[in-house]
Amino acid sequence: MISKAFAVFNKDFHSELRTRYAINSLAMFVIVAISVIMFAVGQEKISEGLTGGLFWVVIFFTAMSGLARTFVSEEERGTSLTLQLVASPSAVFSGKLLFNIILVFCMNTVIALLYAALFESFVIKNYSLFFFSFVLGNIGLAISSTIIAAIISKAGAKGTLYPVLSFPILLPLILTSVQLTLFSLDGTSIEDAKFELAIVVSYDVIMLTVSYMLFDFIWKD
């Protein structure tokens, strides 16, 4: 199963390298979103709390613009039936999830670097806390958006429905991650942020199990 999952991942990775559709659109979206925020902010000096929130606003909308591709492109090209024959549902999901996790990590690293360079108040005081919350938050984001992307690809309307469906599911993760980002900007120690980290970890675990359990129903129809 693991080798099948890697095969699915490999296929996605190579087709992505050939077209560079997701990477290009994500990169452009990040630049557009951040520049819109920069224009809106103008010469004002915004507070730490606001930058922490805006950071996750950009991450959320960028994820919504690009992460649905993995499943929607299968449906568009009509290759999902072949994929069903070749690999088991959990292998397909694992492959797609791996691809999305890597995509999310690339995208969010770029966003974090841009924020650190462009916003004066985005100064991280506690790097290890930021790192942990960043990794856990990214994994959670990838898991939820992958399973929702699978639902979307089977539904009729593709573009507009994705953020609508994802937002309530992602809301606990985003709220906690905003809080964790604020903590790392404040310089709060990891000890004090244990509760929030535990919430994000449990979110990731629960979402992962639920996704694996329910993906069979979405995939086989």
Binding site: I147, I148, K154, A155, L165, P168, I169, T176, Q179, L214
Partner: protein, 234 residues
């Protein structure tokens, strides 16, 4: 038939008691409510607002249970039941949000202040909205039932998180929340026995009402589908 009459009397009694029974400093007679500092006459909302919020949760729970049943048995009737429960849940969710906001304007001074409870009910509203957006976008019946069942189960899993996260992130204003200083947790100890009794009666009455409405609603969905199929066949 008899339970419908009981339901009618029950909710009539609750509305009479909830609206007209006086609030006094030292309740003596059985029909007098205690005066809760910070809430005063506003406290009477508990007989009408809390049941709607309660029904929102019950409906969400039922919708998830029937979604689970659908995924297990693939019986379209279960999907109709889940759909009817979600529809009613949406109605009661809107009612709870609006009544709560109107009450908050006079108790806290603003219609909306992102109190933990307000945020959770807002999240529920978003989930219901997303569910109906998903349902309306799919043509095929079985696909619609499967996907919306899956989505409502995923959404159900996220709900417990709100209970843990909200109090940490936001300050509570709502009566009954942990760090509530102004109004006091009325649910715990400031209600006297007659107020508690009528509150419980109102919960029971509204639950029966919900159950009845749900029955009418899911039956109508099932029969509509049946008639449509007969039309296509005949």
């Amino acid at each position: 038939m008899i339970w419908k009459i009981i339901l009618f009397l029950l909710i009539s009694f609750v509305s009479i008691a909830g609206i007209a029974f006086p609030i006094v400093k030292n309740p003596q007679a059985w029909y007098e409510f205690p005066n809760i500092p910070g809430l005063e006459e506003n406290a009477k909302i508990i007989f009408f607002h809390v049941p709607t919020a309660w029904l929102t949760l019950i409906a969400f729970l039922m919708s998830t249970v029937f979604s689970f049943k659908y995924l297990k048995n693939k019986n379209m009737d279960d999907d109709a039941k889940a759909y009817a429960a979600a529809q009613l849940g949406m109605v009661f969710c809107i009612l709870a949000t609006v009544t709560g906001a109107v009450w908050a304007k006079f108790a806290w001074g603003a219609f909306w202040s992102w109190d933990p409870r307000q945020t959770s009910i807002f999240a529920l509203l978003l989930i219901y909205g997303a569910l109906f957006a998903l349902r309306s976008s799919i043509e095929s019946e079985e696909k619609r039932a499967t996907l919306s069942s899956v989505y409502s189960m995923i959404a159900f899993v996220t709900v417990p998180f709100f209970i843990f996260i909200m109090p940490r992130i936001m300050k509570g204003l709502h009566p009954g929340s942990a760090d509530d200083t102004g109004a006091g947790p009325i649910v715990n100890f400031q209600m006297n026995s007659s107020m508690l009794f009528i509150f419980v009666l109102s919960l029971i009455g509204f639950t029966i009402l919900y159950y009845w409405m749900w029955q009418v609603s899911y039956k109508s969905v099932i029969y509509r589908d049946k008639l449509n199929k007969n039309l296509i066949r005949g």
